[in-house]
């Protein structure tokens, strides 16, 4: 594996399966009396959040604490960051504090990549969502959830499984990370959205495109609904909320068109009544809550694989820096 997790495209098939298999082992922990492992004792992980995100931040924090890491929450709000301190100075500060890893959420696409490539800090950089670029741990937890339902078992991938992703692909970091990872794992991805919410050049992405949700539903094993922000309406991406949900929203009638084994996923937070009706959101086929639980396991796996073994911080200062982390055995 690479030393950082910035993009889902950084993960080879072996890397991805190793993370999913490790997460599967770590998932057992939630059923134990003591939900804690000593593995990352003495490692310092900083959650550097420039954007509000209670869910992702909490998920990472639980994962870090279950692995006994020292957790520092560095929130941009109310800190010197909001007073004009640059990303560089923040990173230098964290480096001076001895951060072994920085989990970063940033409103600017590419900020984690910048951090990883710079010599501002030496720890691992884990992307917890950057602008409209990527959210790789979300894609991992989505793949983990799909594998459990569609092809359970260690070492299994998602070969041939049909995944339909519906909604605001243009602004979605979840969609971008998912298309990379799902392809790596052998799944077939179809994006469904109004043309205004698909990025230019998407015809060259490794996926199918459709403007017609109803035609795709019967050929879907996993349906992922993306959040659509109401503000998009004012920027003329679609005429009205009502028209959007009629054409692209998930409802009870459409649920019936899915194959019996298919699941409905949502990365949250859901906008009920917009892209998904309460009937679907609360149905047993909707995995939204399960995804949250799986997020902790997947993030533990990523943290363990990046920080659990020997890292740069353990190496002498003059040792050559490598861009990859080897996995023993």
């Amino acid at each position: 594996m690479k030393r950082h997790l910035v993009s889902a495209a950084d993960l080879s098939r072996d890397d991805a399966l190793l993370i999913l298999d490790t997460a599967e082992e770590l998932a057992q922990l939630s059923g134990r009396a003591v939900k804690k492992l000593p593995t990352l004792r003495g490692r310092t992980v900083v959650n550097l959040f420039f954007e509000d995100s209670t869910r992702t931040k909490t998920s990472f924090e639980v994962a870090e604490k279950r692995l006994s890491a020292d957790v520092i929450n560095f929130s941009a709000k109310g800190s010197s960051v909001s007073k004009g301190e640059s990303l560089k100075d923040t990173a230098l500060t964290l480096q001076a504090m001895g951060a072994d890893a920085v989990v970063i959420r940033h409103h600017a696409s590419g900020a984690p990549a910048r951090l990883a490539q710079s010599d501002w800090l030496h720890g691992s950089v884990i992307n917890a969502g950057d602008g409209t670029h990527e959210h790789p741990t979300q894609a991992l937890l989505d793949a983990f959830t799909m594998r459990r339902h569609l092809n359970p078992g260690a070492g299994h991938d998602l070969a041939g499984r049909r995944v339909t992703i519906v909604g605001d692909v243009l602004h979605s970091r979840v969609a971008r990370s998912n298309v990379h990872l799902l392809n790596t794992l052998g799944a077939q991805v179809t994006f469904v959205a109004p043309p205004t919410l698909l990025p230019i050049g998407i015809e060259n992405w490794p996926c199918e495109i459709s403007y017609d949700l109803d035609r795709v539903l019967p050929k879907t094993d996993a349906l992922m609904m993306l959040r659509v922000q109401r503000e998009r309406m004012n920027a003329a991406f679609f005429p009205t909320e009502r028209e959007y949900s009629r054409r692209y929203g998930m409802n009870g009638l459409r649920l019936a068109q899915l194959p019996g084994h298919a699941i409905v996923m949502h990365p949250g937070p859901m906008v009920r009544g917009m892209e998904i009706t309460a009937e679907v959101a609360d149905s047993p086929r909707c995995t939204a809550v399960e995804q949250v639980a799986n997020g902790v396991s997947v993030r533990m796996a990523v943290l363990y694989l990046l920080l659990g073994g020997a890292t740069l911080a353990d190496a002498p200062a003059d040792a050559p820096r490598t861009e990859t982390v080897e996995i023993a055995q």
């Binding site: 490790t22 082992e25 003591v34 000593p38 593995t39 260690a154 659990g308 020997a310 982390v325 996995i327």
Partner: protein, 218 residues
């Protein structure tokens, strides 16, 4: 790797490993340990067997089979991966995890018998005890090993020992089990030789999926 071995002076050449236990010996040892467990645990009523990855799991399964024959009952059997509790995690890149499976009845109030192939420094068992501590509260914990080769670095001893094997630190003990290595055998040889033959094995992509842990001091 091994090709030029003949050219080195005889007294300095790493000694090839010699076999100290064969398949029959191993089967006999497992039978004996099973009887000892039944005897000391008074019929093994509350025993839970936990095999420590990798070869401890195979041995625990065999022990489980013998115990079933002796007692006519299914003794709860599980597996334990101690990776996350190792004290040498930072010496190597992160390791892939093995499957930990605690039997449905759990371990609370039970007599847990940990099963491993070689007892050496004791550090693996220390990690296993830490892991157990997070999983539950057994009535007691005992340890069964196929080979005790000495050189303990922690105050740990085995309750059931297949064979005491006095070794020097220059030597390596290799346990091969048919489940993972195609054959049942315990070999002792020079560490250097073992390392060389291991790499030769790996290069040829030989029978074993994973080469035997040479049980070096950790």
């Amino acid at each position: 790797m091994t090709a030029h071995r003949d050219s080195t002076p005889q007294d300095q050449a790493p000694r090839p490993p010699h076999q100290v236990l064969d398949g029959t010996d191993i089967a006999r040892v497992i039978t004996r340990i099973a009887h000892e467990i039944v005897e000391r645990a008074k019929g093994a009523e509350d025993v839970v067997l936990l095999g420590i990855h990798t070869r401890g799991v195979h041995l625990a399964r065999r022990l489980h089979g013998r115990l079933a024959q002796i007692t006519g009952r299914e003794i709860p059997l599980g597996t334990l991966d101690i990776t996350m509790y190792r004290d040498d995690l930072r010496l190597k890149p992160a390791r892939a995890l093995e499957h930990t499976e605690i039997p449905p009845g759990g371990i609370d109030g039970k007599l847990v018998v940990l099963v491993d192939d070689v007892l050496f420094s004791g550090r693996t068992i220390r990690a296993a005890l830490d892991a157990l501590n997070d999983i539950g509260r057994p009535r007691a914990v005992q340890l069964a090993v196929l080979v005790d080769r000495g050189h303990r670095e922690l105050p740990i001893r085995a309750d059931y020992v297949g064979k005491n094997l006095p070794t020097s630190l220059r030597e390596a003990v290799q346990v091969r089990l048919s489940d993972s290595d195609g054959v049942d055998a315990v070999l002792v040889g020079d560490r250097d030789f073992t390392a060389a033959s291991r790499s030769a094995l790996t290069e040829q992509g030989a029978q074993a999926a994973k080469p035997t842990e040479p049980h070096l001091p950790e």
